[in-house]
Symmetry: C2
Amino acid sequence: MPTKIDRRSFLQNTALASAAIVLPNLGQAENSASNNDPAIAETLTGKGVLGKQKLRLGFIGVGLRGQNHLELALLRDDCEVVAIAEPDAGMLADSLKMIEAKGRKKPDVYDKGNHDYERLLKDKSIDAVVIASPWEWHTQQCVAAMQAGKYVGTEVCGGFSLDECWQLVNTHEATGSHLMFMENVCYRRDVMAVLQMVREGMFGELIHLEGGYEHDLRGVKFNDGKTPYDSGVEFGEKGYSEAKWRTKHSVHRNGDLYPTHGVGPVAMMTNINRGNRFLFLTSTSSKSRGLHDYILKHPQGGADHPNAKVQFNLGDKVTTLLKTSNGETVMLTHDTNLARPYSLGFRVQGTQGIWMDLNKSLMIEGLTKAHRWTEAKPFLEQYDHPLWKKYGDDAKTAGHGGMDFFVFHHFVESAKRNQAPQMDVYDAATWLAITPLSEASIATGSSPQAFPDFTRGRWTERKPNFAFGDEF
Amino acid sequence: MPTKIDRRSFLQNTALASAAIVLPNLGQAENSASNNDPAIAETLTGKGVLGKQKLRLGFIGVGLRGQNHLELALLRDDCEVVAIAEPDAGMLADSLKMIEAKGRKKPDVYDKGNHDYERLLKDKSIDAVVIASPWEWHTQQCVAAMQAGKYVGTEVCGGFSLDECWQLVNTHEATGSHLMFMENVCYRRDVMAVLQMVREGMFGELIHLEGGYEHDLRGVKFNDGKTPYDSGVEFGEKGYSEAKWRTKHSVHRNGDLYPTHGVGPVAMMTNINRGNRFLFLTSTSSKSRGLHDYILKHPQGGADHPNAKVQFNLGDKVTTLLKTSNGETVMLTHDTNLARPYSLGFRVQGTQGIWMDLNKSLMIEGLTKAHRWTEAKPFLEQYDHPLWKKYGDDAKTAGHGGMDFFVFHHFVESAKRNQAPQMDVYDAATWLAITPLSEASIATGSSPQAFPDFTRGRWTERKPNFAFGDEF
């Protein structure tokens, strides 16, 4: 039963809609990165499945996050979920039930431990894979999938080393396989409207941007081992879902462990890897108190609970300052251990104006009252992105306020065309690199850390290409 | 005609009101820094004028800011303005008119150039001086005034070198003369209410704080040479008021040039120099575009105006991260060249809660809804500081929303007692030092800069003493 989206998205025409937006300060925007980007053009070896058959999808990791993507895949007529690799029997069973409930064919199952995804990748009938495993599996699974010729969509995280960032880039360049970094916040409705305003020059020349991940995850990092949220103080072997694997990073590491929700939108607005790049960063960490405090005060915790003895390394607040080659500063925050409201803390500030999401307000010189905040809503509505205008209704039922629809839609449409995604392997490497650089800076008293240029100089030629059309 | 304040403030009793607030996490608070702080106790050599005669005040600098203080002095029955040093004939004439209009006696005038304040300081009948000159005069005037045995109140700015910060400390310790750093924002009503909440432990253990100076000063840094605000693109010799002297710092320097409005309140909440200290900072600067852009676009400017050729060094956005010995992080911002609304950007965040002034909201675990912002107003009213409860009506007519009343009131009452002020020379040195450290960090690619310990280790003994009573 095809939906409105499915019919629309199954385009015969491989060209994206032409860029309708005038970009006085960006030069000519490219509709497709394949046109004149040598690094990417030479890797476009496949033909894709567009207009021929359904995109045959494999899922590597169907925990709660993987199930979000699975749900979106099952809503589409242009996708077929043909294989799942998942070592956790419970999560696998839940996923198979979802598939059955939609009347879809049962996929092949790879459930023989953590490495069984390697068998999945040997199935030559699979066009693309979605990777939504615990963080520390992402790189090796992405590399193996690219080597197997799959089109790869990977969930977000922070990196562990610069080397693995290079591994992603090197594997892409060696194999020609594409990797899309599935950063959903790039598609947040207000963020995309502000991107349109940035491209119209309404903020003047960009000067300073902020973003982050300020999210009280105490009730995610700990649970009772049976239900995912706010249910106890267990983690690791005794935890459930993310508490099983995510919390150990707060025990052992100290840095911005999850930078991409903040940096993704900011990177798109400042054209990072497309005429601009990050030069260096410093990172400063506060003490770590929040998680220990949570265990002490929780009704199922207390001073005698074994986890009260755990020493957490992750500073409750990690603040990172980045400088770009074009002279902008970017501040990123990581704040997941404290009692606080959710906020991604976006700020976009230029010579002529400023937008902040915390107070949902802006000031645009000449358009709003000087020296005063004005409600952003009418502007966000006026500059609503063409993608949201077109697909807003379809996105409504998807997760995270609709963002998940767009990021999955872009993945599927790019994979169908075997075309470089607009959040590509170079973006993945750059954004992931923030974490090991942040850890290194903190470990050395906030000393500045130089950014690698993962494009090997191609950022001087690459053109902005994110979300210029209204197709995907 | 004595006002309510004047009668109240002319107290016979030198003791401050006893600390009514229970401070579980601070140890015993001291009402007066003189009680058991060896560094300060040994300098309390004078007896003050309390209950005997009026405080005889000299003013060094009566530009627009000095005139604010002058106005407050003229409202008080316990002060007599006996001398003014001011090289600018116009500003001097305006000040003398203010004095005459109040029916007060004409003060001695020292108007023979920039160094004539040295003659003022020779007048042994002067008890205390208020320094509100251009930034680069502060230190030498403070030093000379302390050497002359005056009680010194100095306007705020950022320092130029660590050496001059040490000069202030060394001179205080050698002479026993006190210096008060007149940071009015420490007395902002919401800030003081939040200080009360911090001291009640409502935010839990403090983790991260923010403050700054985000103020579009383009219309202050430039004018038409005749009126102070928004009137042209001249500065330096052709400018008027602050444009005459302040703007050159934006031409030549790059750093957080004005850190104290942000750091003052934050330092009081984190007990800097009183059981805590700043360990190091890093500072990152954006490019500089705003001032040049302003000149280009101003109706009286344009590409052919001579000032369009000026190269401004000051980054439009300077972000500084400080780490304290107790493990908190502090972020300070300096943002004075761009079109934007005024904001000091305060954030106070602990294990159990958060307050931000941008959205006038907070969250306190157990008291407000989890994961949600709640309007701060009822809390700010409930925790209104005793000083504001007592003097709020008197403060109404004073500048900057009433803050100016309190800072001047504290200066006068401390000077009358010849007692160490609660924002003392060690605070002055520490807060001023942020500027040269920030400049050094930016000049070396955001490298970390260690903070001097201006208390020479006494921060481990000094006790918090800011605003515990309801007197001053």
